[in-house]
């Protein structure tokens, strides 16, 4: 600014010249430079020119000063501009950084969005899966409930039927008890019958014993009689022999008499002839009497046989009478039984006659069978229930596992949501900070506006709000799921209680089954449907009975034989008492028979001797052993046949084998030859181990043959 011309100032230029001003030292410097400054002292000559020039100079100086100050200001402004520019650059850098950060955040936001979306989808899927599973479980549970209801209904019906069956069984048991009582009564009656029959058997046995004793006594008596008769027979035989002797003498006399008949006088002949005739007549009479006696004896024997037959018939009749008595008793007992059965029939309902009893029993058995079938069906249904229980428990465990998994997933989703929230909070903080920075930048920069940043920020805020809304929804979904899980848990608890109750029932049934099995193993049985039988003739009783029966039979045979022998002797003694006139003829006949028999015996002996010698020679030639048979008796009286074998290849007479044969068994006898080591070894192998005497003898012949041939 140009100042108005100021008043002169004295010494002002000097003072001013003292100041060091870079621009003006208050000396006028001619234009063109180089000239030294002309001092103002020379101002006086041209004051008006100098004034204007001074003024101009002053103005110039002032202008210069101002210009300098302005330049300074411009410099300052430039510096400021530079600093501002630097600040702008910095802000631009920061803005770029913020933009990068913002893009990074946007990317992260997009990633988180994607993750959230994926999480949401996964959660939705899991929720839908869990919903489906829950629905399926609910369906299963409902089905199981329906089945349980059905089973409980069936169990109730089965219980009712079982109760009714039990009642019928009780009734039947009562009836059966009555029947058992009646059967016991019958048993007692039968036992009484048995005792009666046993008594009768004992009586018959005692009778038999008495008969046996009588028979024994008779046999003894008959034996005594037989002895007496034998003695009589001996006497009679002696008499017979004397008679025969006399007869022979008489014959001799007769023969002599016939020879000397011509010499004797007729009177003596006549006397002899008369005597002989008398004797002949006597003999004839005796013969006739003997014949009569013989015929009478035959008649007696016939009568005796008839007597025996009649005795047998009488005994049979007595037996039959006794049997009749027994049958009558049995008939009475049967009548009593019939009466008791009739009374029983009246007591039993729905039974009017005997034919109805088996039908009633059949009906009762059918009922029992049906009840047993029902029991079996109930047990089968129980087993099915157990299987279903197991399935339900398995499904419960599965549902529990799934619920635990869903819980874990919900927890993880909640953690993810928390993480997202934290991220959101951090993102909002950064956003606020960035906003502040942007506002600061806006303030600093006049024409710089971050509309795009604000827009981006606004968009991000909107997206963040949307994410918050989605988070809210997810939280609500999670809460719903939690509630559903709680409901499911409650249902699972209820099902678990039901399962436990069913398990308790199953354990109870198993214990009952174990009890029944133990009872079965113990031997218990239902007396109404089962009876226990055993054989009467056990081994001991059978053996004893056999022994007694055999002993009694042997005694009977002996007594019968004795009786027959006694009776034969009686018959013989009856004949022998009377002197038989035909004794000589009989004697001749008997003698001739004896002679014939003796001849036959001799012939048989000779033939047997020939045959046996041939047989022995053949055996010797075929088997290589000379066999000698010898009958011996052991010290205890048992007869034993001893065979001595000598091989044809034996090298000495001491080489003999001895065997004992007794009732079908052959045993080797140890002697010096057999006690030799070679032979004893063969005996051990063939006889003791292999039980084959034939093999032993064959081996021995082979060895002795080999020895002979080799030697």
């Amino acid at each position: 600014m140009m100042l108005r011309t100021p008043p002169q100032r004295k010494r002002r230029a000097e003072s001013v010249a003292g100041d060091e001003s870079p621009v003006s030292d208050r000396r006028l410097v001619p234009y063109g430079g180089g000239a030294a400054a002309v001092p103002i002292a020379s101002a006086e000559p041209s004051d008006p020119m100098v004034c204007t020039y001074h003024c101009r100079q002053m103005v110039k100086s002032e202008f210069m000063v101002a210009f300098n100050t302005l330049e300074r200001q411009v410099g300052d402004y430039q510096a400021r501009l530079e600093t501002l520019h630097e600040q702008l650059c910095r802000s631009d850098d920061e803005r770029k950084k913020c933009q990068d950060h913002l893009t990074f955040l946007e990317q992260e936001l997009a990633a988180t969005k994607g993750r959230e979306h994926a999480l949401q989808e996964r959660l939705l899927k899991e929720v839908t899966d869990s919903h489906e599973r829950h629905r399926a479980q609910l369906k299963r549970i409902s089905e199981l409930e329906v089945e349980l209801n059905r089973e409980s209904d069936s169990r109730k019906t089965a219980e009712l039927s079982a109760a009714s069956a039990k009642e019928t069984i009780k009734d039947l048991e009562g009836k059966l008890q009555r029947l058992t009582e009646s059967s016991e009564r019958e048993k007692n009656m039968l036992k009484k019958e048995l005792s009666f029959s046993q008594d009768s058997l004992n009586l018959s046995a005692s009778k038999l014993a008495a008969n046996l004793e009588r028979m024994r006594l008779r046999a003894e008596n008959s034996e005594k009689e037989a002895e007496l008769l034998k003695q009589e027979l001996k006497g009679l035989r002696e008499q017979l022999n004397e008679c025969l002797h006399q007869k022979s003498e008489v014959e001799h006399k007769l023969s002599r008499f016939s020879a000397s008949s011509n010499q004797n006088t007729p009177t003596e002949d006549q006397k002899l002839v008369k005597l002989l005739q008398e004797e002949i007549r006597n003999y004839e009479s005796e013969v006739r009497e003997a014949r009569r006696l013989r015929s009478s004896h035959v008649n007696n024997e016939l009568l005796k046989e008839k007597l025996l037959e009649e005795k047998g018939r009488r005994e049979r009749a007595e037996m039959e009478l006794s049997k009749l008595m027994e049958f009558q008793e049995r008939a009475q007992k049967l009548e009593l039984e019939l009466l008791s059965w009739k009374s029983l029939l009246r007591e039993i309902p729905d039974v009017s006659c005997y034919d109805d009893i088996p039908k009633k029993f059949a009906a009762l058995q059918k009922e029992v069978i049906e009840n047993m079938i029902k029991v079996g069906e109930i047990s089968a249904s129980l087993k099915e229930l157990e299987v279903k229980l197991e399935d339900a428990s398995l499904s419960r465990q599965h549902a529990e596992n799934e619920s635990a998994l869903a819980k874990e997933k919900a927890e993880s989703a909640a953690l993810g949501a928390k993480r997202l929230e934290l991220m959101l909070a951090s993102v909002t903080e950064e956003r606020d900070r960035l906003k502040k920075d942007s506002f600061v930048l806006d303030k600093q920069k006049a024409g710089h506006t971050n509309e795009t940043l604000l827009k981006d920020l606004a968009e991000k805020e909107n997206s963040i709000r949307e994410m918050e809304n989605s988070l809210h929804q997810l939280r609500e979904l999670l809460s719903h799921q939690h509630e559903e899980l709680e409901l499911m848990n409650e249902k699972l608890n209820v099902e678990a209680r039901k399962v436990k109750s069913l398990e308790r029932e199953g354990d109870r049934l198993r214990s009952e089954i174990a009890l029944l099995e133990s009872k079965l193993g113990h031997g218990d049985y239902c007396a109404s449907s089962t009876k226990v039988l055993r054989m009467v003739n056990t081994l001991a009783v059978d053996n004893e009975a056999k022994h007694t029966i055999e002993a009694l039979q042997a005694e009977l045979k002996r007594t019968q034989e004795k009786l027959q022998a006694v009776e034969e002797l009686k018959g013989q003694s009856d004949v022998g008492k009377i002197i038989d006139a035909n004794i000589p003829e009989k004697l001749v006949q008997l003698k001739s028979q004896i002679a014939i028999l003796e001849k036959r015996e001799e012939r048989y002996k000779a033939v047997f001797a020939e045959k046996i010698s041939v047989f022995r020679r053949a055996c010797c030639s075929l088997f290589g052993y000379k066999i000698v048979m010898d009958d011996q008796q052991r010290p205890n009286g048992i007869p034993v046949t001893r065979f001595t074998l000598q091989s044809i290849y034996a090298q000495s007479d001491d080489e003999k084998l001895e065997f004992e044969y007794e009732s079908g068994t052959t045993n080797i006898v140890v002697n010096e030859y057999i006690s030799q080591p070679e032979i004893s070894h063969q005996v051990e192998i063939f006889i003791k181990k292999m039980n084959s005497i034939q093999a032993f003898t064959a081996n021995l012949t082979m060895e002795s043959f080999n020895k002979r041939t080799l030697s």
Binding site: L520, H522, G523, T530, K531, V532, M535, V536, A540
Partner: protein
């Protein structure tokens, strides 16, 4: 059908007879030398040579076969008793489950004889292994056979009703079973507790 049931009855009876012989041999009721090994029906049977026991078992099996054919036989029990005191020491329980359909209606059930014999042999092996835990029979013993029949069965004159000859507080061991598809035979042995074991 009748022949098939009869053949299966024979297998059931012969298997049971083989098992009875095995039990008598293993428990020492009769001396070892009185038994002879016989291979019949694919089984190695130990048959006693005692005439009395043979006749007893023969008459027993004839009656049991009759009851088996008619489906009236429920159980056969072999009882081993002390000869001196007649105390029951062991009960070998053979529970017989008859298929009613086969007996009444003649329904056919097929099972190979080999398989049945295998099952019987398994039981015989198990009986032989029972010696390890069954108490020793130190005193002379006798045996008897009880037949559990239906209540309506007519009692033959050589048989009488009897008590079940139970053991008080027995120990029980369940053995294998064999199944001919007509009869199923479950084997169980119950024995008197040994005093030494109780102590």
């Amino acid at each position: 059908m009748a022949s098939r049931t009869i053949s299966k009855d024979i297998i059931t009876l012969k298997g049971s007879a083989a098992i009875v012989g095995d039990i008598l041999y293993n428990r020492g009721v009769y001396p070892e030398e009185s038994f002879a090994k016989v291979k019949k029906y694919g089984l190695t049977m130990l048959l006693t040579q005692d005439d009395g026991v043979k006749s007893f078992i023969a008459s027993l099996t004839s009656q049991l076969s009759e009851w088996l054919e008619s489906g009236k036989l429920q159980r056969v029990v072999l009882v081993i008793m002390s000869k001196a005191t007649s105390e029951v020491l062991e009960r070998w329980n053979f529970n017989i489950e008859t298929d009613a359909e086969v007996v009444e209606k003649g329904v056919i059930r097929e099972k190979s004889d080999k398989e049945i014999m295998r099952e019987i042999q398994a039981i015989m092996r198990q009986i032989a292994s029972c010696i390890t835990y069954l108490p020793c029979l130190d005193e002379p013993c006798v045996f008897d056979v009880l037949a559990y029949t239906d209540k309506d069965v007519a009692v033959p004159f050589t048989w009488i009703e009897s008590d079940a000859k139970l053991i008080q507080n027995p120990q029980m061991v369940k053995l294998h079973s064999f199944d001919t598809k007509i009869h199923k035979v479950d084997t169980l042995v119950s024995y008197k507790n040994d005093e030494w074991d109780e102590q």
